[in-house]
């Protein structure tokens, strides 16, 4: 009964969340004159959160003095863009990502791989942008543990969640975001931990300056996430680095940043293991 109640609670909360968001847009837009459809835009309407370690991305991060090596591949593909009014756009797309943790940069020993996929709907009005995602997350141990399975790993990690992110981007130099999510209502789980999560963060950018005629900015990001698991976990990541673009008006960029992570392990099979902390240099590609 408790399980059903918790499920119902999550489903209701999620429904209210979506209704609140959509309520503002149920009224007819002021003008349909600018209504346009397009497919496969080069950049997603909702710019991916660059400070979120589980956002599909392309990056490499040596950690723990090269004792571990993270390599991530993946991205977001927007399928359809609908401009419903002069100040309102919608996007529908898919995403996928794989997060590898190796013993070393030679890639010889894989410790764990997380892989995620899903789809999203996003909306943008002025400086506000929303993204609702359905996300499937899985985690598998690597061949390093073939003969000696780690005692501290979860037996299984496979879950679906719905989540919503609200982003506020008043200027090119500042972006704040917050959101939350929960397991989809049809999944069974331990009623003592709902796995509901909430997160927030910010991105700060300097004024652009030129290096070799290309646009550069210093940037910093902060991301913190709370999840109702293992008695409540907090994970946070800070990035401070340089963003390098060929075209300042496009999202495509190369980033080199100092990365600090503190919290529970970001890898699913080790997600109830605390005290994962590292400071490293990461190379990121925003496609």
């Amino acid at each position: 009964m408790e399980l059903n109640f918790t499920r119902l609670k999550h489903a209701t909360l999620l429904l209210i969340f979506f209704l609140l968001i959509s309520a503002g847009y149920l009224a007819p837009p002021s003008s349909f004159a600018d209504e346009t459809w397009s497919i496969l835009p080069l950049e997603p309407l909702f710019a991916p959160l660059i400070g979120n370690f589980k956002e599909p991305s392309v990056s490499v991060i040596p950690v723990d003095n090269n004792q571990n090596f993270e390599a991530n591949v993946g991205g977001t593909a927007e399928l359809i863009r609908w401009k419903s009014a002069s100040d309102m756009e919608w996007g529908v797309g898919v995403f996928g990502g794989a997060f590898f943790l190796f013993q070393d940069p030679s890639l010889s020993q894989l410790k764990v791989i997380d892989w995620t996929s899903g789809f999203y709907v996003s909306e943008k009005t002025g400086p506000f942008c929303f993204r609702a995602e359905f996300k499937d997350e899985k985690s598998d141990l690597g061949d390093e543990y073939e003969y000696t399975p780690p005692a501290n790993a979860l037996d299984f990690y496979d879950w679906h969640n719905n989540n919503l992110t609200v982003s506020f981007n008043p200027t090119d130099q500042f972006r704040a975001f917050a959101g939350g999510g929960a397991k989809v209502f049809w999944e069974l789980y331990d009623p003592s931990e709902s796995l509901a999560f909430a997160f927030c963060g910010a991105e700060l950018y300097s004024s652009p300056f030129s290096i070799l005629n290309d646009s550069c900015r210093v940037y910093g990001t902060y991301y913190i996430k709370y999840q109702d698991q293992a008695g409540g976990t907090f994970d946070q990541e800070i990035q401070l680095g340089l963003q390098w673009k060929g075209d300042a008006t496009k999202r495509r960029a190369l980033r080199l940043a100092a990365v600090y992570y503190n919290g529970y392990s970001p890898y699913g099979r080790f997600s109830d293991q605390p005290n994962d902390q590292y400071l490293s240099i990461g190379l990121f590609i925003d496609p």
Binding site: W37, S38, I39, L40, P41, L42, P56, V58, V60, A71, V73, G74, G75, A77, L79, G96, G97, A98, F100, F102, S106, L107, S108, L110, I113, W115, S117, K138, D140, L141, G142, D143, Y145, E146, D158, L212, N213, D214, W244, K245, G246, D247, K250, R252, A253, L254, I285, P287
Partner: protein, 291 residues
């Protein structure tokens, strides 16, 4: 250490030899572009190991092949004589996924490759020389005594013993596209390092055919057929073939991004490292996001 130095020297020499074929005077330099959205060497459609974002679903819906990654021209140099050069990076993860129950998937194999390349184009000709490093890893649910069988959800699976799979590859590909509707390519792959040991090189050939564009509900569509062939890739005498037939969707014909919807047929040995010496024949529906 000495072996590493030899490898590095070999790589530098190869790059120099390659670049000397296309030397131009500094006065011809016209335009540098950083992080261009286009490619000097257009990615190959049907090569299963070309980094891209794609998913192939087998019709019995128990097998999914997910590819995540891409190629990125870091610097492009456009010369006044029409020559274009690019230095870029590539990286991709290839995941072989098995659906064992409704909405439940397990990972059988994950391969990761990354590297860099030098590419050049002039008129209908383009060339790419790439270096790649890769590894392959068995999914944990198959860990167990090799050959042992187990059942889950009315299906029978076979355990396999994971083995170290590491590769360093140099691959050269030359492409000829005399007109928009046809592209031919060919090249060689050379294994600088391979564990387990394999024969040193393989031949790579392929073709791409395109129809004219037509419009469907405001979307530019064209038919595509692509064929890729690797002879002796890791296992002597084996031909790995991949066929794709379908449609390419774009917002406009000039758009750089595209969605390919294809019927795929693969025949040969598995392209996944942990299964490289096992045959693999499959038919599937493919969806790929370009670039």
């Amino acid at each position: 250490m000495r072996q590493k130095m030899r490898k590095l020297l070999k790589l530098i020499l190869t790059l120099l030899l390659f670049s000397s074929l296309f030397q131009t005077s500094p006065a011809q330099a016209e335009q540098w572009t950083f992080l261009s959205p286009s490619h000097v060497f257009a990615p190959l459609l049907a090569d299963p190991r070309e980094p891209n974002n794609s998913l192939e679903i087998s019709p019995d819906t128990t097998r999914y092949d997910l590819s995540l990654g891409g190629t990125l021209d870091l610097f492009q140099l456009k010369l006044s004589d029409g020559n274009q050069w690019a230095v870029g990076i590539l990286g991709a993860g290839y995941l072989k996924i098995i659906r064992y129950a409704w909405a439940s998937w397990r990972l059988e194999d994950s391969d990761l490759w990354y590297g860099f390349y030098l590419s050049q184009s002039s008129g209908p000709f383009s060339n790419r020389l790439e270096y790649e490093h890769g590894s392959s890893h068995l999914g944990d649910w198959l860990f167990g005594p090799a050959g042992a069988q187990f059942s889950q959800y009315d299906q029978t699976f076979t355990d396999q013993q994971a083995f170290p799979y590491l590769r360093d590859l140099i691959q050269y590909t030359a492409s000829y596209q005399p007109f928009d509707a046809l592209r031919l390519y060919g090249g060689l792959g050379y294994w600088l390092y391979a564990t387990p040991t394999v024969q040193l090189c393989y031949i790579h050939l392929g073709a791409e055919l395109y129809s004219n564009y037509f419009t469907v509900i405001g979307v530019s569509v064209r038919g595509i057929f692509a064929y890729d062939l690797k002879i002796g890739d890791q296992v002597a005498g084996i031909a790995d073939q991949n066929f794709q037939l379908g449609f390419q969707l774009k917002s406009t014909p000039e758009s750089l991004s595209a969605l390919n919807l294809t019927l795929d047929y693969y025949n040969g040995n598995s392209e996944y490292g942990q299964f490289y010496n096992q045959s693999d024949n499959r038919f599937g529906f493919g969806i790929a996001f370009l670039p």
